[in-house]
C-alpha cells in the first residue's frame, strides 16, 4: 500500500514533467500576443494609434477567447530594425508569445519576422506589408491584415490617371515601403513620370527637393511621407507657395489624423487615397469611430483602423477554434477563412494571406467642430488585390 502510494507519486511526477515538456501546460495559460510597434521618437504618434486601435479591439472582444484569457505584451522598436529584432526575439524566447503583430515600418518587419516564423509562431501584420512577404517569401504563418504596401498608392495611381495628369513627380523615403509605394502608384497610373525621388528616412528639410521639383514643371506631385516627414514636407510645400501651383496628392498613410493636427489648414482641399475613412457607412466602423473617440478623445487614423481590424481578425479566428492556439494548422485555416466585420468594409484574405479590399478617395476638409478630417469622396477601386500573389506558392513555402 505504502509502496504503491510512492509509485503513484513518482508516476504523477514523471507524468507532470512529461506534460510540461510537451507544452500542454501552456494550454491552461493565456493566449499571448506580442505587439511590437514604434511608440517612442518622432514616429511615436503612429504607434500610439496602432496601440489604441488594438486595445479597443481587445476590449470589444472582452479580452478572452472561448473563456481563455488573451494577454497582450507591448514592445517598442524605436524605429530601429535591430531593436525591433531584439524585442521580438525576447518575446519569442522568454515570453513564448503565440502571435506577434504591430510593426509599422517594413524595414523593421523584414528584420524581425524570421525568428517569429522560425519558432512556429504567427505574425499577423497590422501595418507593414512589404512585397517580398506577399510574393516569393510568403509564409503559411504570416498574415497581412492591413495591406500589401503597394495597395496604398494603387488606387491613387488610378485616380491621378483618370484626372488626366500626364507628368507626375514622385517623392518617398528611401526604404522598402517607399519603393513599394512607387511601384504601386506606377502600376495603375501607367503614364509618364517626371521623376522618382527617394530621400533619406527621417529627413527634416525638403527645400532642395521642392526647388528641384518646381524646376521640373510636373503637372502633379505625389508623395509618400508617413509621420513627421509628411508634416515637414506638406508644411514646406505650402510655405513655398506650391499648393496653388502644382496639385499635391498622397496615398494612404501620409496626411491623416496622425499628422493633420500639426499640418493645420495647409492641407485643406487636398485629395488623398485611403483604404479606410472615418465616414465609411457600416455599423462596425460607426461603433469603432464612436468608441475610439469616447475612449481616447480624438478621431482615429487609418493606422488605428487597420490595427483594430487586425485585433478583430485574430479574435474571430481564435473564437472559431475555441481559443486553441496550440493547434497551429487549425489557427492558420481559421485565419485564412476568417469572418469578421472589418471597419474598412469589404475584406477577405487572398491566397498569399494578404487582403482583397476596396480603395477610397478622401479630401481634407473641416468637420462641424472645426477639426480637419478626411471627407469621403467615393470608391476608386473595388476588390483591390496585390500584384505579388502569383509569385507565392504557399504549399511549398516554409
Amino acid at each position: 500500500m505504502r509502496r504503491n502510494k510512492g509509485l503513484a507519486a513518482i508516476a504523477a511526477l514523471a507524468g507532470g514533467f512529461g506534460v510540461l515538456s510537451q507544452g500542454a501546460v501552456a494550454q491552461q495559460g493565456p493566449i499571448k500576443i506580442g505587439y511590437v510597434t514604434t511608440t517612442s521618437g518622432p514616429e511615436g504618434v503612429i504607434g500610439r494609434d496602432m496601440v489604441d486601435g488594438f486595445k479597443l479591439a481587445m476590449k470589444h472582444g472582452g479580452g478572452k477567447s472561448a473563456g481563455r484569457e488573451i494577454q497582450v505584451i507591448w514592445g517598442d522598436d524605436q524605429v530601429k530594425p535591430d531593436v525591433g529584432r531584439q524585442v521580438v526575439d525576447k518575446m519569442i524566447e522568454s515570453d513564448r508569445v503565440h502571435i506577434v503583430s504591430g510593426i509599422i515600418f517594413s524595414n523593421i518587419l523584414l528584420a524581425s519576422v524570421k525568428p517569429v516564423l522560425d519558432a512556429g509562431a504567427f505574425y499577423v501584420s497590422a501595418n507593414a506589408g512589404p512585397s517580398p512577404l506577399a510574393g516569393k517569401q510568403c509564409h503559411p504563418h504570416f498574415f497581412g491584415v492591413a495591406f500589401q504596401n503597394d495597395n496604398n498608392f494603387e488606387g491613387l495611381g488610378q485616380h491621378v490617371r483618370e484626372k488626366g495628369f500626364k507628368k507626375v513627380y514622385f517623392l518617398a523615403p528611401n526604404y522598402p515601403a517607399g519603393k513599394d509605394m512607387a511601384a504601386g502608384f506606377k502600376r495603375y497610373y501607367k503614364g509618364d513620370m517626371a521623376a522618382e525621388v527617394f530621400t533619406s528616412f527621417g529627413q527634416l528639410d525638403y527645400s532642395a527637393e521642392i526647388a528641384q521639383l518646381r524646376a521640373a514643371k510636373p503637372d502633379a506631385v505625389v508623395i509618400f511621407y508617413p509621420g513627421g516627414m509628411g508634416i515637414n514636407f506638406v508644411k514646406q510645400y505650402a510655405q513655398a507657395g506650391m499648393m496653388s501651383q502644382i496639385p499635391l496628392f498622397t496615398g494612404a498613410g501620409t496626411v491623416d489624423q496622425t499628422t493633420l493636427p500639426a499640418i493645420g489648414d495647409a492641407a485643406i482641399g487636398m485629395f488623398t487615397g485611403a483604404l479606410w475613412s472615418e465616414f465609411l457607412d457600416n455599423p462596425a466602423n460607426k461603433k469603432f469611430v464612436a468608441d475610439f473617440e469616447a475612449d481616447y478623445g480624438r478621431i482615429p487614423s487609418g493606422f488605428a483602423s487597420a490595427s483594430y481590424d487586425t485585433g478583430r481578425a485574430i479574435q474571430a479566428a481564435l473564437d472559431a477554434i475555441g481559443g486553441k492556439i496550440e493547434d497551429k494548422a487549425a489557427f492558420q485555416k481559421a485565419m485564412e477563412n476568417v469572418k469578421f466585420d472589418a471597419v474598412r468594409g469589404n475584406f477577405r484574405f487572398n491566397k498569399n494571406h494578404f487582403p482583397v479590399q476596396d480603395y477610397y478617395l478622401v479630401q481634407i476638409e473641416k468637420d462641424a467642430k472645426g477639426r480637419n478630417v478626411a471627407g469621403f469622396r467615393g470608391t476608386i477601386l473595388k476588390d483591390l488585390q496585390d500584384a505579388y500573389g502569383g509569385d507565392c506558392n504557399m504549399a511549398a513555402a516554409k
Binding site: G41, S200, D205, S207, N232
Partner: protein
C-alpha cells in the same frame, strides 16, 4: 541645372547652414568654454519650439510668444546647470554624456506628459507664411529669409560679444585658466551659469525657428543634435567662427549632395566630409587651443 535653380539651391544650402549654426552655436560655446558635453542641447531646442508654439496659441502675439519662449528656455537651462550639470564640470566626459543623455529622456517624457505624442501646430503670422519672388523663376519662402537674417545677426552678435567686450574677455579667461581668472576677481561660476543660459536660449531660438518650417514633436532634438555635433567637431570645438563656417559648409554640401547624388550617397556626404576634414585637421578647421 539652370542658373536660377543653382541660385535657389545655393540659397537653400546657406539657409540650412545658418539654421545649423543657430543650433550648434550654443553647443560649441558650452563644449569649448566649459568643457562640458551637453547632449541635452537638443532637448532645449525642442523646449524652445514647444514653448513658442504654446505661447503663440495662448497670447496670439508672435513676437511676445517668441520672447517668452526664449526667456523660459534660458531659465530651464539655468536651472538645469545649477541643479545638475554644475556637479559634472570636473567629471569625465563619459559621466557628462551619461547624465545629459538621461536628461534627454527626462525632457522627452515631460513633453510627452504635457503635450502628448501628436505633433503640435505652430502657426506662422500671415506675412511670413507665404513666399516672395526674389528673381525671375525663384520664389522663396519668406520665413526662410527671416531665418537667414536672424542667423547672420546672431553670428555677428556672438562675435562682437566674445571678442570685443569685457564679458567676452571673462568668458575666454575662465575657459583658458579657471583658477587664475578666479584669483583675478572674475566670478567664474556666475560667468559659466550665464554662458549656459545663453547657450540654452540659442538652442531655444533654433528650435522655434525650425518649428515654423518642420514639425514640432517629441524627440525632434535628437536628429538635429547629431548634425550639431558634426558641425561642432568640423569647426573645432569651442570656436564660434569655426561653427559658423562649418555650418555653412555642411548646409551647402548637404543640399547639393541630396540633389546631385544618388540617395544612399547623398545622405552620407556630410559624414564623408567630416571624415576627410578630421583626417586632414584632427582638431577641426579652427582649433581653439592650438
Amino acid at each position: 541645372m539652370s542658373v536660377s535653380l543653382f541660385i535657389e539651391q545655393l540659397l537653400n544650402g546657406v539657409q540650412f547652414g545658418v539654421m545649423l549654426f543657430l543650433i550648434s552655436a550654443g553647443l560649441t560655446l558650452v563644449f569649448g568654454i566649459m568643457n562640458l558635453i551637453n547632449l541635452a542641447h537638443g532637448s532645449l531646442y525642442m523646449m524652445g519650439a514647444f514653448l513658442a508654439a504654446a505661447f503663440v496659441k495662448i497670447t496670439g502675439n508672435y513676437l511676445a510668444a517668441l520672447a517668452l519662449a526664449l526667456a523660459l528656455t534660458a531659465l530651464i537651462g539655468y536651472v538645469m546647470e545649477k541643479l545638475v550639470l554644475q556637479r559634472f564640470y570636473h567629471r569625465s566626459h563619459l559621466d557628462q554624456v551619461l547624465v545629459t543623455f538621461g536628461l534627454i529622456l527626462v525632457f522627452n517624457d515631460i513633453v510627452r506628459l504635457i503635450w502628448g505624442v501628436v505633433p503640435v501646430q505652430f502657426r506662422l503670422p500671415e506675412p511670413f507664411s507665404g513666399s516672395v519672388q526674389l528673381i525671375a523663376d525663384v520664389q522663396y519662402p519668406t520665413f526662410r529669409l527671416v531665418i537667414l537674417a536672424v542667423g547672420l545677426l546672431v553670428a555677428l552678435g556672438l562675435y562682437v560679444i566674445v571678442v570685443h567686450t569685457r564679458i567676452g574677455m571673462w568668458i575666454r579667461a575662465g575657459a583658458s585658466n579657471r583658477p587664475m581668472a578666479s584669483a583675478l576677481g572674475v566670478d567664474v561660476g556666475l560667468v559659466f551659469s550665464a554662458v549656459f543660459a545663453a547657450g540654452s536660449a540659442l538652442a531655444g531660438l533654433a528650435g522655434l525657428m525650425a518649428g515654423s518650417i518642420s514639425s514640432v514633436q517629441v524627440g525632434m532634438g535628437e536628429p538635429v543634435l547629431i548634425l550639431a555635433l558634426v558641425v561642432t567637431v568640423i569647426g573645432g570645438i569651442g570656436s564660434i567662427r569655426g561653427a559658423f563656417i562649418a555650418a555653412l559648409l555642411i548646409g551647402v554640401v548637404d543640399t547639393f549632395g541630396r540633389v546631385l547624388l544618388p540617395p544612399a550617397l547623398g545622405s552620407m556626404v556630410i559624414f564623408m566630409l567630416m571624415a576627410i576634414i578630421l583626417a586632414w585637421r584632427p582638431k577641426g578647421l579652427f582649433p581653439v587651443n592650438a
